[in-house]
């Protein structure tokens, strides 16, 4: 536990420290920086609120309704979260853009067009990315409520409102603040999405200011200050979220999936309305990414693209292994707080700091893939812990005494209690980590190697060389691979649980 926490702290603070040392101290902020900070916090708050608020009815509907293809839908709905930013933006614009599907339909009906660009566009895009994550976090928790409790509620004749108050509200209080914090922190470091959908410099975020300071002005002091501000914000968000979320629980279940007796009639109609809405919102842009990519992929992806895909797969698997080993000892309240700050660290500051730290010892070019794997594991850690911790703690609470009474060895505890109970969240968390690591581009800029490109980098290179169609094809390949990995892990975690 201490070792894992120490490594985490070193990897988070070390790079900023290295940048600070190199800069020779903190720099001054530029005039626009405060405005950028305000906008960043504002859009991240809105994005977090909307993502979680919309996720509640969707997760509830998915938790209590069964229908054909539900499992596939739940998996598919996770896909936006793992798309590379540039690809997702193109998909969103194909639906909501000026010449997108929505405006095409409005034109056909003779209605005025909608304009996606602005604060609402930024929030829309962030909800597109993060709604799936919020839904899945809530859904995990919903499914973790022992079904026996719902049965008990039914036999006690509780009204839906009663069920909500006794079972669901405590669950939301426990999970929602953490989900909000994670989405909030992810949106803190948003840059390209916020700028493109924000429609211009009004949507300047702190990360853009860091980029400018780092790449254009070479003002490391200012970059480090902004990086620290971002990190502090993330840390505070994590602290508040954890304070708001009380511990809970009464009465354990046997961990079976049991048909729910509520959610009939009007409630069922409403549930399907929410599921349909979320599915349309999340899947339409994905469908267009697929449609755009098919011609490019059919033409042949090219040797470089396949090699890049291989590198990405390798990085993804390495990141996942590392993240699991890292997450298991950290699945506590303090561990989560520590890790949540990790996603608030600017990828640019992190990359530059690692570059400065590693350079005296190794040739950074040869470290491209290992560094990417470690950084991706670091970035995925907060998600992993957010998903694992509530359930890990609950398992300990519910079965810890029994385990102690039986004098279970740690190994037996892990094998007989812990892993079987945590299988579902662990599978989901591993799937997410693998998929996220596939799509990452953040830190590789300083460590890039001509022969060891990852798939996102390859897409970037293709676009930079006017190969828009080939880039769309490579994006589809990335989507398929990310989703395939995600599905494999996620499915592996859900075996025996729902069937």
């Amino acid at each position: 536990m201490i070792l894992a926490a120490l490594v985490l702290a070193i990897l988070t603070l070390g790079p900023i420290g290295a940048v600070l040392v190199r800069a020779g101290g903190l720099g001054d902020l530029a005039p626009g920086d405060l405005q950028a900070l305000r906008f960043t916090v504002f859009q991240a708050t809105l994005s977090g609120l909307f993502s979680v608020a919309l996720a509640i009815p969707v997760a509830r509907a998915l938790a209590r309704q069964t229908f054909w293809g539900r499992g596939l839908l739940v998996s598919l709905m996770g896909a936006p979260f793992i798309l590379p930013v540039i690809v997702a933006v193109m998909g969103l614009l194909a639906v909501f853009g000026r010449s997108g599907l929505v405006n095409g339909a409005l034109d056909a009906l003779g209605l005025p067009n909608v304009n996606i660009y602005g604060l609402h566009g930024v929030v829309l895009a962030h909800v597109f990315f993060n709604l799936p994550l919020a839904v899945r976090m809530l859904l995990q928790a919903w499914l973790a409520i022992p079904a026996e409790r719902f049965r008990l509620a039914s036999s006690l004749g509780l009204t839906p409102w009663g069920v909500f108050c006794t079972l669901e509200w405590p669950l939301l209080r426990r999970i929602a603040p953490g989900a909000f914090a994670v989405v909030f922190v992810i949106c803190l470091t948003s840059f390209a999405v916020a700028l493109t959908l924000g429609g211009g410099p009004r949507a300047t975020t702190v990360e853009l200011a860091i980029y400018q300071a780092m790449r254009f002005d070479f003002d490391l002091g200012r970059a480090a200050v902004l990086g620290l501000v971002q990190l502090t914000l993330g840390f505070v968000a994590g602290l508040v979220a954890l304070k708001l979320a009380p511990a809970q629980g009464f009465g354990i279940g046997r961990g079976r999936w049991v048909a729910r007796w509520d959610g009939r009639g009007l409630a069922r109609v409403l549930d399907f309305f929410w599921i349909g809405l979320a599915a349309a919102f999340l899947l339409a842009p994905l469908a267009l990414v697929v449609a755009r990519g098919v011609p490019g992929l059919l033409e042949g992806a090219g040797e470089g693209t396949w090699r890049a895909a291989g590198h990405s797969l390798m990085v993804a698997l390495a990141s996942t292994t590392l993240a699991v080993l890292w997450a298991l000892p950290l699945a506590t309240r303090r561990g989560e707080l520590l890790s949540i700050a990790a996603i608030a660290i600017s990828p640019l500051v992190l990359g530059t700091g690692l570059f400065l730290l590693l350079r005296p010892f190794v040739n950074p070019f040869t470290m491209a893939l290992p560094v990417t794997a470690v950084v991706n594991a670091l970035m995925a850690l907060p998600f992993m812990l957010r998903i694992l911790r509530p359930e890990a703690e609950q398992v300990a609470r519910d079965f810890g005494r029994l385990g102690a009474t039986l004098r279970m060895t740690p190994w037996a505890w892990l094998r007989l209690v812990w892993l079987p109970r945590l299988r579902r969240p662990l599978g989901f968390a591993m799937g997410l980590t693998a998929a996220l690591a596939m799509g990452d581009l953040g830190v590789i800029a300083l460590f890039a190697d001509p022969d060891r490109a990852t798939l996102p980098l390859q897409i970037h290179r293709l676009m930079g060389a006017y190969r828009m169609e080939a880039a769309a094809g490579a994006a589809l390949l990335l989507l398929m691979l990310s989703f395939g990995l995600f599905w494999l892990f996620d499915r592996g975690g859900r075996v025996h649980v729902e069937d």
């Binding site: 193109m90 614009l93 000026r98 010449s99 070479f218 040869t366 001509p450 880039a471």
Partner: protein, 330 residues
Amino acid sequence: MTPYMKAFTFAAGCLMASTALAETPALTVYAPDYFVSEWGPGPKIEELFEAECNCDLQFKPGDLLPRILLEGAQTDADVVIGLNTDVTKKARESGLFGTHGVALDGLTLPLPWSDDTFLPFNYGHTAFIYDTTKIDTPPASFEALLEAPDDLRLVIQDPRSSISGLALVLWVQSVYGDQAQEAWAKLAPKIVTVTRGWSESYGMFTDGEADMVLSYTTSPAYHIIAEEDETKKAAIFPEGHYFMVELAAKLKGTDQPELADQFMEFILSEAFQGMIATGNWSIPAALPKDQWPDGFKKLNLPEKVLFYSEDEAAAVRAEAIEAWRAALSQ
């Protein structure tokens, strides 16, 4: 063995493989990422240069100047290729670069060039690209663009994160001077959005999300040559177009001075200049027009070229970006 270990072993293996080659002298060249991909000019340059130098040319892609500045005098780079004029001031002041010693009389740039540190190898100009199947008569001047109806949809790049975006604000600054902010205010309603880099903008244009995109006068050459598509054209403005040149420079502390010099000479050679047009989709810096590929001869090119020297650019840059930011933030 975990996959992570495999990645590590793989990396270690590659490291050993590259040290095994160390008997032939190696020239390390830092280049932008797009340069070294299989569609960039990098692989061709490597092939041509290695044929004459009896050495191993190694491209290291990524952030150019930030990395050199981070590394300081300990940098492994012998040569840097792909710098832009807007960063040369910072590069020159670092004192890390030496003189190139290459004779400049072969240059065919549209303006005089006498820099003895930074050597141009190709150039282009900022321009708005449009699709002739969608726009019959593009704006005939910058003024006409400002006055165009607001349903003309433009997409541009952010001057704070992109070289071409920076060139655009310098372009507006050099045409409108003190009136730059008013000019931006007229452009603002037409600007669909601002993207972080050139790729996103160009992708939006080819997807039909915008009618015109800020790009280069040379962009249509890609469509003409690679796609046999002549419908993409640059709108030419009599006010002039901002000149964008890409440069190479030699590191003062190089441990391969002869090879580095040889490479700098090679940059202006016919072999290099002959392939750079279709390798980098830019106009060669030292090749008469009659030797350009046919697709390039068909390009709309401006009569008048606007350009700030690095000192001038450094002086007006903050003001030019602020005019853009203020007008577009309204």
